[in-house]
Structure formats: C-alpha cells, structure tokens
C-alpha cells in the first residue's frame, strides 16, 4: 500500500492575504485569490518574516518564498524534527525572474554587463528562489524548480509526495512562488496580474506527522497530469485528444462519490476552456466550483474540511492537472 502523505503546514504571502485567517476572510467574502497576484503588493515587509538583514539583494519572488516558507514551517511546528538531509524543496514558478531578466537585459543593452551588480548576478537563474530556501532553512535532500505553465505548483506538490514515498526525503516544502508577470500578459488575462505571491506547504508522511503530534490540514490523494492542447483548438474533448486511457475517469471516481470541484480561473480563455471540459467530465454529485489559483485551491480545499475534493488546473498551452485532496476532517 502506498504511504499516506499529510499536509501539515501552510504559508501564504499574497497581496490579498498573508495569513490563513486573512485568507479565510477573503474567501468568506466570496473573492478569489490568485497566485500571481491580483493586486499591487506594496505592503509586503520582508523584515517581518526574515529579520532586519540579509535580503537586500534577493528578488521579490525570493523574498515572498522565504516568507511563505517561514510561515509554513512555523505552522507545521516541525522545528528541527527532521535533519537537513531529510528535508527537500520543490517549487513551481512561471515568473519568478521575469522582471529581473528584463531589467538585466536593459542594463546590458544600455550601460553594459559590467553595470550588473555581482551580488545580484546570480538572480537571473529561475532556481534561485528555491536555492535561497535551502540556504536559509538548511534543506539538503534535494532542491527542484518546476516551470510548467500554470500547473507548476501542483506538479511540485505531486513530486514532493512522490519523493516522500520513495524515501528521497522525510519532509518536503512544496508550492509556488511568483514575481511580476510580463506586461504583455496583462491584456491576455482578464484579471490584472501586477505583483507576486507565494504559497508553500509542508508535506510529510501521515504516520510521521501523527507520531510527532502534528496538526494535519489535509491529505494528498492521487493526481493526474496530462497534455491536451487539441482540446484548446476546437470542439474537442480529452478523449478525442488521446485522453481515453481511463485515467481521468479513474481519478474522478464513481458518480456516487461526492466530489467537490475547485477550478482555477484567471480570466484566461484557454485555461478556462480546458478546465471546463475537465470539469464537465468530472460532473458528479456535490460539485462546488470556486475560483482561486491552483496552489490556493489546495489550501482552500484543506481549509474546507471536505472529505473529498478535486483540484483542477489548466494552462494556456494545454497542460491539465487534477489532484484529489482530502480535508482534515477525513
């Protein structure tokens, strides 16, 4: 039998809410929360999370990631329960370094590469936010950055889960961080995306979490990742696009099984089309739809205490991600 994996810590830093309580208020008011930011984020104070020093040359996405990690680790109450070699990091991101690269290229073209500060030169690499997490919090089992469009955070959770089952780590910090999105995308998504956010969770074996007396927010269920670009192009379905391998039906489960559906929305027509088709395929009893970005869906689902929920996300390129989660009540 596969080892059961628990979610024991949540860390959230976003323009709309930077705590679980704030998140609950935003959701109670019926508003969506998007990772990628729906509002400017002028109020973020890194010193509140990271102390007074040591973050001057870190990019905003790195700072959000470090802050969310601090919150998630505190929430999980893991302390030094696991050794460095047992702790891994998997982060998903699309735009962590977008504005950094644009600024650096502008510097090179205008004033020359010698004007890039050496202390900031490493920041061009998109894996630096995850790397800084390992450096600051002593995570040595592994450090992986995934950059698949839109679903990278959910892929990070799935990879973290798999790594725990394989024994690559005994605790994994997984989730998504984002920096400022490209200007060119502002008109594409109907919701403005102006600034960044981070949403990270702590995953560990359910048995280990119980043993150390941890509070369990939720439990990871099976997931499915597919690439269905033809669905975007016309009157198509996952089945017509080679998705008829039964995996989708197996994940959705029998109709009698109450399943609450949490779908992503960003005003992206292609994402919504694919999500909608997957959602239609998942049309089963007790369906409830809400609109939050993929990582936050997981938080929302865990908070809800529902005993079975399906998180669905899709990318404008055709990636589809589905993950079953169970809230703490299960």
């Amino acid at each position: 039998m596969r080892e059961r994996i628990a979610l024991t810590g949540i860390g959230l830093v976003s323009p709309a809410a930077s705590s679980l309580e704030g998140f609950a208020r935003v959701r109670a008011a019926g508003a969506g929360v998007a990772c990628g930011g729906t509002l400017p984020f002028p109020d973020f104070d890194p010193a509140r999370y990271l102390g007074e020093r040591g973050f001057k040359y870190l990019t905003p996405a790195t700072q959000y990631g470090l802050a969310a990690a601090r919150l998630a680790l505190d929430d999980a109450g893991v302390g030094d329960h696991y050794q460095g070699g047992e702790r891994g990091v998997v982060l998903g991101t699309n735009f962590a370094v977008w504005s950094v690269l644009a600024d650096m290229d502008a510097t090179i073209l205008r004033n020359g590469a010698d004007q890039i500060r050496p202390a900031e030169a490493a920041n061009f690499s998109v894996n630096i936010p995850a790397s800084q997490l390992s450096i600051r919090y002593g995570f040595h089992a592994f450090n992986v950055t995934i950059t698949t469009a839109r679903i990278a955070g959910l892929e990070a959770l799935a990879l973290g889960t798999e790594c725990l089952r394989r024994g690559r780590a005994r605790m994994v910090l997984a989730g998504a961080v984002e920096g400022r999105a490209p200007e060119a995308l502002q008109g594409y998504f109907s919701a403005p995306i102006a600034e960044g956010a981070a949403c990270l969770v702590v995953l560990e074996l359910l048995s280990a979490a119980r043993e150390r007396g941890a509070r369990v927010h939720g439990e990871v269920g099976p997931s499915l990742f597919r690439f269905w670009p033809a669905v975007l192009g016309g009157p198509s379905s996952p089945e017509a696009d080679g998705g008829s391998d039964g995996a989708l039906a197996a994940l959705i489960g029998p109709e009698a099984d109450p399943l609450h559906l949490f779908e992503a929305g960003h005003g992206c027509p292609r994402c919504e089309r694919l999500t909608g088709i997957v959602a239609a395929a998942a049309a089963s009893a007790g369906r409830e739809c809400s609109t939050v970005s993929p990582m936050m869906q997981v938080v929302d689902l865990c908070r809800s205490g529902l005993d079975a929920g399906l998180v669905v996300a899709a990318s404008p390129q055709g990636h589809a991600a589905l993950g079953r989660w169970a809230g703490a009540a299960a």
């Binding site: 460095g84 891994g88 735009f95 977008w98 690269l101 644009a102 650096m104 290229d105 090179i108 073209l109 004033n111 020359g112 590469a113 010698d114 890039i116 500060r117 050496p118 030169a121 490493a122 061009f124 690499s125 998109v126 894996n127 630096i128 995850a130 790397s131 800084q132 390992s134 450096i135 002593g138 995570f139 040595h140 592994f142 450090n143 992986v144 950055t145 995934i146 950059t147 698949t148 469009a149 990278a152 892929e155 990879l159 798999e162 690559r168 999105a181 060119a184 594409y188 597919r226 690439f227 269905w228 670009p229 080679g242 998705g243 391998d245 990318s315 404008p316 390129q317 055709g318 990636h319």
Partner: protein, 395 residues
Amino acid sequence: MTARVLITGVGLISPLGHSAHGSWESLLHRESLPREHATLPPALLQNQRYYRIADEQPPEETARAESRATRLAVKATGMALADAGLAPADLSGTTVGVCFGTGMGEGDRLELGHTEPALPLDVPSSFFLSNIAARLAEIHGFTGSNTTLSTACSAGSYAVALAHDRIVAGEGEVMVAGGSEIYSRVGQGCFHRLGALDPVACRPFDADRKGTVFGEGVAALILECEDHARRRGRRRALARVEGSGWSCDGYHPTAPDPTGRWIEAAMLRALSAAGVTPQDIDCVLPHGTGTGLNDLVESQTLARVFGDRVRELKISAIKAKLGHSGGSAGAVACATAAMILERGLVPPTGNVKAIDAECRLPIHVDAPTPASIRHVLVNAYAFGGNNVSMVLGRV
C-alpha cells in the same frame, strides 16, 4: 519487481554536429574551441565567446520566426524517435510523457523582443519556459504528463531522473527526457560579471582553467520500459537508466560547498538506487565545467567516493569540446553516456594541457579508448547546489 527502464533512442544537436552520430564522431576525433559571436559592442559585453550550434541561418534571423530552443528540441525529439525505431503506429495506445530541462527557455526570442519591440511574440506561450516541452509534445502528439524543469545547470539530468522515476512508478511506459539551451545574452552577461567565464576555452580540471564557457546544446532521449520495447519487437537499446541520487548543498547561490559532502551524498544515493558499488562503475562523466572551485571539489569528492578505484576509471569531461549547455547539459551528458555504453568507446577530454595537480584525477585526454564499460556515473550540479548523479548501465 522494479521496471527496467531502457534508453532506446537519442537525438542530439550540439556545436559538434546536427545529429547524435555526428556529435559523437566529433567528440571522439575533432578539435573544438569556442568562438566569439559578437552581437554587441565589446564595451557592452566584453566576452561573447561560446560554442554555437551551426545553423542554416544566423540565430537572430531564426528567432524572428521561432525560438531556436524550441525548433531544435522538436527536431532532436524527431531524431530520438527515429533512433528508437518508434513510428506513430508504435505509440498508438501509449500515453507518452515529456520531462524537459531548460534554464532560459525561449530566451533568444524574448531578448530579440527587447531590441526589436515590434517583434510579434506569441501571447501567452512565449512567456512560459514550458513552451519548448509543450511545442515538441504538440507536434509529436504526446499527451502524457508534460513537465519543464529549471534547476539551472542540473535540469537536464533531473529531467532524465524524473522520467525514469515516472516509468518506474507506472505512470507511463514511454517518456521523452531531455534539455534545450541556446545562447542567452543575459546568461552570458551575468556569468561574465561573476568572473566565471574562461576567455580561452572550457578546460575542465586544467591547471590554467579560468571558468566555464557556454555551449548550445539540445538533447532528447527516449526512455522506455522494457516490456513496451519487447511488445513492439524492439531489440536494440543503447543503455539502461538504473537510478539517480539527489541532494542540495544549501550553501551559497553560486559557490559549491567546499567540503563536497552533499555531492558525495548524491553520488552515493545514485549508486545505492542503481544497486551498484564504486567497483562496478567504469566511467564517469563529471559535471566538470572548468570553474576553479567546482572542479576541485568534484575531483576531491570523486577520489573520496571511489578510493583506489578512481585510478581505474575512465573520466571524460565532455564540456571541453561541447561547452556548458546549462539546463540541457545533464541530458547531453546522459545521451553521451548512453552512446559510450552502447559503443564501448570513451571519448577523450579536449582542450586540457596540464591537469591541475590538486585535482589528481585520471582525466581521460588521449585518443578515443575502447573499453568494456558496465556502468557510467553522470554528475550534474547547479547554482544553489542543486545536485543530481545518475547511473546508467549496459544493456
């Protein structure tokens, strides 16, 4: 029982050639040095020296229509499928997944957009690093999981490791793993600013090494579970992927942990995952970038892991002739390791005049050497100390 994962085909496009065979032959027999490919005045970027993939037209011309990173990845994937003898009919009913590594994605097109604001970029696809993997899957009709990894210079190896894991976990029978990295002005500028570029050539473990030199590189490997290969009547495989070991230095954004303890952990974890001991390894493809401390720490750690056995190893630092292809380098190395295992030949390390006495490694610098190679260890390290070691074995 764990599924055996075979490499049944490789596609490779490198500064040494536009095919796996061409790159391999040049790696064995040809000299290779980087060249200056200046597109900016030296006052703006002093060092624009790298190993370039020769293309039909100038890179910036190609990038006006399509990113070379994507175009070449689509092409390399086609080569890998052909090498594996996989026609579309062989894949009907098979959900093929993709794991691809890249650091800068379609950086060529985006950087061109900075100098030519009228350049029409594809919204939103151009703005995601995953466009390379998405496009190659769309064109070749792969509907399985489609993951882009960007663990900087170890991404290509992580892509192979993850594809292997997914087949072992039963999530797919055929996966395309690889990497694609082409020249990036920002990457070059930042490495220049870090003082990490050698002005002459990539000279891993050489006493005079002064840093790395970038090289463009695109690799695609077909990973296939043995049952699938058998069912379609495929007898030939280049090699087996046997296991990977992961770790993270968690030490510094750009400098390696000088103790080497975590790259040692990655090597030992890989050996353990593959079920082999240091005595079973005959050849090592080190990360070997030509960067002072990185090469020193890697050589000291290899000596520690292998003990006396290190003198018997064939160690070939392939970046000397290929350059450092960043997020693709690990996939390029795994493709090369597969060819070493299939052909029983170890390519020499180029551009090394005098091996650094402190490194004390038997770097293989002479002519191609025929050797019976049972298992190859492939190391890949990256910014942030994101380490992965792979073990590939003879079929």
